[in-house]
């Protein structure tokens, strides 16, 4: 059966259609769902796309976490369905407490829009189950607040539990331990700053994101 995935659009999201298009390429039926929606019944997983939800006012994700759809997202996370946060979506998942830590301003205080080489650190996650551990993927980043920060005890736990999902080859933003993406304890909630949907066709520079999108479909099946 075709996997159905919800892509939550907040006021200020700007990657939702790219994500829908890219997920369609790997065989999923993805649909944009407005953030005011209270139910995600009928969906096998959810992606929170990039952008500037609610204008990023106060802090990225600070307002979005209270959107009605986030209650349903939290429920899906609890049930074990894949919940993926890309860029602003990662920020929203940390604000919502579904992932630990926070995303701080980039150490160089520059908005970064460039392709980075990231390493797959674990294949035990909803976003990397089809990938190869140690593989290097070229995937664009596009953020001002992507500098992953957490308590030393949190970092130690992420490492000992094999929950660092991606690391940057060359740390662009000052992230703790070169972290580009992490997952929760159950490994179904994954947040990352790079945009796999922007690496989903050779025409736009890289297809390296496809294996991650295929992993979401596999996790939702």
């Amino acid at each position: 059966m075709t996997v159905r995935l919800a892509v939550v659009m907040f006021p200020g999201s700007n990657c939702e259609h790219d994500v829908v298009e890219a997920l369609g390429r790997v065989g999923a039926k993805a649909e944009v769902v407005y953030h005011a929606e209270r139910s995600l019944d009928g969906y096998d997983g959810v992606v929170i796309p990039g952008g500037f939800a609610h204008g990023d006012y106060l802090r990225p994700g600070a307002i979005a976490r209270f959107s009605p759809a986030m209650t349903a997202v939290t429920e899906m996370a609890r049930e074990g369905a894949p919940v993926i946060g890309i860029c602003n979506g990662f920020q929203i998942l940390t604000e919502a407490g579904l992932l630990p830590g926070a995303l701080q301003k980039n150490s160089g205080l520059k908005f970064l829009c460039q392709t980075e080489a990231i390493t797959v650190e674990t294949t035990a996650s909803a976003l990397t189950n089809q990938a190869v551990k140690g593989a290097t993927l070229k995937i664009p980043i596009n953020h001002f607040e992507g500098n992953y920060t957490c308590e030393p005890e949190t970092l130690a736990r992420l490492k000992s539990d094999d929950r660092v999902v991606f690391r940057y080859g060359q740390n662009p933003n000052g992230s703790d331990d070169d972290i580009a993406g992490i997952c929760n304890e159950a490994r179904n909630v994954v947040g990352l700053m790079p945009h796999p949907e922007r690496a989903s066709d050779a025409l736009i520079g890289s297809e390296d994101g496809l294996v991650l999108l295929r992993s979401i479909v596999a996790a939702a099946s």
Partner: protein, 90 residues
């Protein structure tokens, strides 16, 4: 009672502050030497109606915890005083 509230949000000790560091590096170039420990935060001001100061403070601190700050990286300091402005007429 109505209270004037000022919440100062700052990065917690030990959390890097790229904006503060940039300002600190820039000051000597403008001739301002001897400045250290620059930290950039934000200030949020509002008025709140509450039966008394204790209740007002409790509510503002709950707001800070749940919404106005991200406790992973930020601290808050609350300054609160009885407002001299007239409350809005009912």
């Amino acid at each position: 009672m109505r209270f004037d509230v000022q919440v100062e949000v700052s990065l917690r000790d030990g959390i890097s502050d790229p904006a503060g560091a940039t300002i600190e590096r820039s000051l000597p170039a403008l001739g301002f030497d001897g400045v250290e420990a620059v930290r950039v935060g934000k200030s949020i001001r509002f008025q709140i109606d509450a039966p008394d100061e204790t209740e007002a403070r409790t509510r503002v601190e709950a707001m800070c915890e749940r919404f106005l700050t991200n406790p992973v990286i930020e601290d808050s300091a609350v300054a609160l005083s009885a407002s001299e402005r007239e409350p809005a007429s009912p």
